[in-house]
Subunit: 256 residues, 2 copies
DNA sequence: CCGGAGTTTCGAAGCGGCGTCGAAAGGCTT
DNA sequence: AAGCCTTTCGACGCCGCTTCGAAACTCCGG
């Protein structure tokens, strides 16, 4: 076994079509799959299409990935890890729970929107017993717990109303995940067929709106929202939004 | 053509298995499909399984429904119509925009939770050009517009902060649709595999929590939330929740 | 009682998607 | 030159949705 990725190797049977791509077939497959998942949706994308886009015949995909779910799994790995890392950064930066939560909501919306697929579609495809499914769900549970902890902290400090932290954390993530597909080409729930939809809004706008709405709903002293926004904007964490936005959609960074 | 539904007719070729069910095959198919969609999810349910549960062979399904999407479409018809009728009722009952919106959010969560399938799964399956898809999306657009109108009304009256009505309406519906699957048996995003999940909460609890959070985020005078809750609880509209909850899941009322 | 029309069901088969198997076609090492 | 390893592919099986045409029965008119 080897699968010498990131190395442009000349070993192995040559392709029927001339060699195309970067020299790292695994990366090419993920890039092709991400692009197709983005434009057509996951279920509507066939292995044959992915193979063709990657310059391979369909069976060759199974040398690099166990099955279609594994391809999705490799792309999905980002889906929780990016927000999780973000939460860690925000927590390390410190500050009141309100400011941290505001930043997290805003960044989470942008991060989810930047994914090459609708995260809701993933929740249905990855419900088998595969290993990547297990890690995905475990990481997602951790993300919920992290948000829950921040909410709980805000409640005990008196910064937030006495809400149920777990329920609130779930609500926050549900909003984020529900809004991330408004601007997708393939039948988004907001940008429905035959309608202008919500494509007019940028992920950044949506994130700020959602963060405002949620925080104002939580704060004991709603007038504190302005200072929270100010503090969050000052933090350089929001600068990363620009980065995340540009690298969007098409899996430019290599998946690992 | 006839398809004499609701009539227990003795015409037609007899079934290989003895005649089972209510005498209305169309209804039997929908009931069987609803039950299976609920327990296994839509994608994981095969036509053969639906046929078996309805006491038919697979091809016979296509006498009553054009295809699998049509079965889903018949079940989905409720998904928008119930909330739409509810919004009409609430608007007719009158009162300030805040109280109406609170009731709508709460009822919408309960109504969506009572559906025999995950509405998010529908958003992906019904993106073809079929007629029931068109009506579904049209009705959904109308639901968005109704909520948007209430928000706009609250904003102009000064009851709500000056938010973007459309963005807010989309956020509200996104939350509702994101939370409706926390208590489903088949891989809900909240009640994830290998975790206690959010199954502990009833749809009613979730709805009230979401309504509180959203309304408090919108109200110019957050302290008004208490009176809104009181007013909403007084309205007999909430009594319908009990009804909706009992008739849940399994498509007891005949679909038309 | 007979024959045709209408209704409902089914068996056989097509098609397209995912995934497997074993072999083929190269380079690399000895 | 002879293996060995890596990568790719062709042929194939299986399962899902769906179509087609015929079968099986009732009903009704004569």
């Amino acid at each position: 076994m080897s699968k010498g990725s990131t190395v442009k190797s000349k070993v192995g049977r040559p392709r029927s079509a001339g060699a195309t791509g970067s020299g790292d077939p695994r990366h090419d497959v993920l890039a092709a799959a991400g692009k197709l998942f983005f434009t057509k949706g996951v279920a509507a994308t066939s292995m044959a299409e992915i193979a063709a886009a990657a310059g391979l015949q369909p069976p060759s995909l199974y040398y690099w990935f166990r099955n279609k779910t594994a391809i999705l799994g490799a792309l999905v790995a980002e889906a929780n890890r990016v927000p999780l890392g973000m939460v860690a950064d925000v927590n390390q930066a410190g500050g009141p729970a309100g400011a941290r939560l505001w930043t997290i909501i805003c960044l989470d919306v942008v991060a989810l929107s930047a994914l090459p697929f609708d995260i809701n579609e993933v929740h249905r495809m990855v419900d088998d017993g595969s290993p990547e499914a297990a890690t995905y769900w475990a990481e997602r549970q951790q993300l919920i717990r992290e948000v829950e902890a921040i909410v709980a902290e805000g409640v005990t400090s008196g910064e937030f109303r006495p809400v149920d932290p777990r329920l609130t954390a779930l609500s926050v993530l549900a909003s984020d995940e529900g809004s991330q597909n408004w601007h997708r080409p393939a039948g988004g729930a907001g940008a429905a067929p035959g309608d202008d939809g919500a494509a007019a809004y940028t992920p950044h706008q949506i994130g700020e709106h959602l963060a405002d709405l949620t925080l104002r709903g939580l704060l004991t002293r709603p007038s504190g929202l302005d200072s929270i926004r100010a503090r969050a904007q000052r933090s350089d964490l929001l600068q990363q939004i620009a980065v995340t936005e540009t690298q969007s959609a098409v899996v430019s960074t290599d998946i690992r």
